[in-house]
C-alpha cells in the first residue's frame, strides 16, 4: 500500500500558451508511474513555488517557449529557496539557446531540455535526480 511515487509539478510560467510539450511530458511522466500535478497556463513564479511546497513535489518542470525563461525560471528557484524548499529539483524546457542554459544552470536550474528531447530522456533524468 505504501508506494512512494515520484511527485512532479509541471508548470507553465509566464503568458506563453503553447502547452503541447508540457502536456505530452505530463502524460509520459504519468505513464512512468509518477504523480503529476499540472497547473495550467499563465502561472506566476509565486504560484508555482507555493504549489510546489503545498504539494510537496520532488521535481518542478517549467515549460516556456516565449523567451521569458531567464526572468521566470531563476525566480522560481529563488522562491523555493526562501520557502526552505530548495531540495526540490527544478527543470526547464522550451526554445532556449545554449548560452541561456548555462546561465540558468548557474542559477540553480538542474537541467534544461530543448526541442527534440525524448520524453524518456526526461523520465530517466527525473528518476535519477530524485534518487540522489
Amino acid at each position: 500500500m505504501a508506494e512512494r511515487p515520484i511527485r512532479v509539478l509541471i508548470a507553465k510560467p509566464g503568458l506563453d500558451g503553447h502547452d503541447r510539450g508540457a502536456k505530452v511530458l505530463a502524460r509520459a511522466l504519468r505513464d512512468a508511474g509518477m504523480e503529476v500535478i499540472y497547473t495550467g497556463l499563465r502561472q506566476t513564479p509565486e504560484q508555482i513555488a507555493a504549489t510546489a511546497t503545498q504539494e510537496d513535489v520532488h521535481v518542478v518542470g517549467l515549460s516556456c517557449l516565449s523567451g521569458a525563461h531567464l526572468e521566470l525560471f531563476p525566480r522560481v528557484v529563488q522562491l523555493l529557496k526562501e520557502q526552505q524548499a530548495d531540495d526540490i529539483v527544478v527543470l526547464g524546457g522550451g526554445t532556449i539557446p545554449s548560452e541561456d542554459i548555462t546561465a540558468l544552470k548557474k542559477q540553480g536550474v538542474a537541467e534544461v531540455f530543448t526541442p527534440g528531447t525524448s520524453t524518456q530522456e526526461v523520465v530517466e533524468f527525473v528518476k535519477r535526480s530524485v534518487q540522489l
Binding site: E3, V36, Y38, G40
Partner: protein, 339 residues
C-alpha cells in the same frame, strides 16, 4: 529517495507536528506526504496533533467528472476566505487509470488561491490503494485541521464506492449535479443520494435545470416543497436543500455557502455533530486496531515460517481451520482476558 520523516529542513530540529501547529507550509506538505508514503511513521506525528483537531468544518464535495467541482470549490473557498477563515482543500482523484501514476489537474481551477497564505491545497492520487485512500484523506484533513484551517474541502471526482468512503469523513457532504449530462436520477447511484447533505445543481443556466431539480425532489421525497431550504431549517430533521449555481460566474454560490453553513449549524445544534464524530472515531479506532493487530499477527507468524506450515496441515486434513486459528492466536491472548 530521501527519507521523509525525521529530516531536518532548514536546520530545524523541531518535529513536523510542531511545525504544522505553527502554520509552517513546508512541514504541512511534508507531513501529508508522510501520511501517503509511510503511514506508520506518520502516526508518530499525528499523535501529537490529535488534541488540536476537531475545530474545522469538513465539507466533502463530490459528483461526476466535468460538473465543475473544482470551480465550485474555488468559489466557496473564496467566500470563506472573505469571512476570515483559513481554508484547506484536498483534491482527491481516485480514478487514476495506471497503477501508481496519476495526472492531477484540479488546481487549475484554483489558481488565484495558490498564493493566498490562508489557503492550503493538496492533490492526492489513488496509487492503487482502495481503503487506504480514505484513511490517508482523513489523516490529511486532520493535519490541516491542526494547522488551523477553519474549513476544509475534500473534493473527489466520481460517484463510486471509494468516493463515498472518502466524503463520509466529511461533516457536510455536497453532491454536485449538472443538467443534461446524463446525471438523471436513475443513473446516480443511490449511495450518493443518501450521503448528500446539500445538493448543488451546477451550470444551472442550462435549459433542463428545472427538470433535474424536480427529479431530485421526487427522488428525495421532498417534491411539493417549493423551498426545500426553508423546510430544512424549520424542522429538526435535516432535508437536503437543492441549490442552483453557475460556478463559472459565481452565481448562486452565496446561497450554496449559506446552505453549507446552515447544515454545520444544524449539526452543532441538534447534537448530530457529536453523534457523527463519535461514530467516526469509533470506526477509526476499530480500523486502526484491526490494522495494527493484523500486522503484528502476520509478522509474528511469517517470521517464524509457521504460516505456510499450517496451510499445508489444513490441506492434508491434519488440522481444522478453527483449531488452527485458536492456536495461532494464543500467543497474543492475555491469559486473564482470554480465560
Amino acid at each position: 529517495m530521501e527519507p521523509l520523516s525525521g529530516i531536518k529542513i532548514g536546520g530545524s530540529s523541531v518535529s513536523l507536528a510542531e511545525r504544522v501547529l505553527r502554520g509552517d507550509v513546508r512541514a504541512t506538505g511534508r507531513l501529508i506526504s508522510l501520511i501517503e508514503n509511510a503511514p506508520e511513521e506518520a502516526e508518530q506525528e499525528l499523535r501529537a496533533l490529535h488534541a488540536y483537531t476537531g475545530n474545522a468544518h469538513v465539507v466533502g464535495i463530490t459528483g461526476s467528472p466535468g460538473i465543475g467541482k473544482s470551480t465550485l470549490t474555488d468559489r466557496l473557498a473564496k467566500r470563506w476566505r472573505k469571512e476570515g477563515f483559513q481554508v484547506g482543500i484536498i483534491a482527491v482523484d481516485p480514478n487514476s487509470p495506471f497503477s501508481g501514476g496519476a495526472l492531477l489537474g484540479d488546481r487549475v481551477r484554483m489558481q488565484d488561491l495558490a498564493t493566498d497564505p490562508g489557503v492550503f491545497i493538496r492533490s492526492m492520487g489513488a496509487r492503487g490503494r482502495l481503503g487506504g485512500l480514505a484513511r490517508a484523506t482523513h489523516n490529511a484533513v486532520r493535519v490541516l485541521d491542526a494547522a488551523g484551517k477553519g474549513v476544509i474541502f475534500v473534493e473527489t471526482v466520481g460517484v463510486g464506492q471509494s468516493e463515498v468512503d472518502i466524503v463520509r469523513t466529511a461533516d457536510t457532504v455536497v453532491v454536485g449535479l449538472v443538467p443534461g449530462m446524463g446525471d438523471d436520477i436513475q443513473t446516480i447511484k443511490a449511495g450518493i443520494l443518501e450521503i448528500a447533505d446539500v445538493f448543488a445543481i451546477n451550470k444551472a443556466d442550462r435549459p433542463d435545470a428545472n427538470r433535474l431539480v424536480i427529479e431530485l425532489q421526487m427522488a428525495l421525497g421532498t417534491s411539493g416543497n417549493a423551498d426545500t431550504g426553508a423546510s430544512a431549517r424549520t424542522e429538526g430533521r435535516w432535508i437536503p436543500p437543492i441549490e442552483q449555481t453557475i460556478a463559472s460566474t459565481g452565481e448562486g454560490t452565496g446561497a450554496l455557502r449559506k446552505a453549507i453553513a446552515d447544515h454545520w449549524e444544524h449539526l452543532q445544534r441538534s447534537g448530530e455533530l457529536e453523534t457523527r464524530r463519535r461514530a467516526r472515531y469509533e470506526a477509526e479506532l476499530q480500523s486502526v486496531v484491526e490494522d495494527h493487530w493484523r500486522k503484528r499477527f502476520f509478522e509474528y507468524w511469517q517470521q517464524r515460517g509457521h504460516w505456510e506450515q499450517v496451510v499445508e496441515q489444513l490441506l492434508r486434513k491434519e488440522i481444522d481451520p478453527f483449531t488452527a486459528a485458536q492456536q495461532l492466536l494464543s500467543p497474543f491472548l492475555d491469559s486473564e482476558i482470554g480465560g
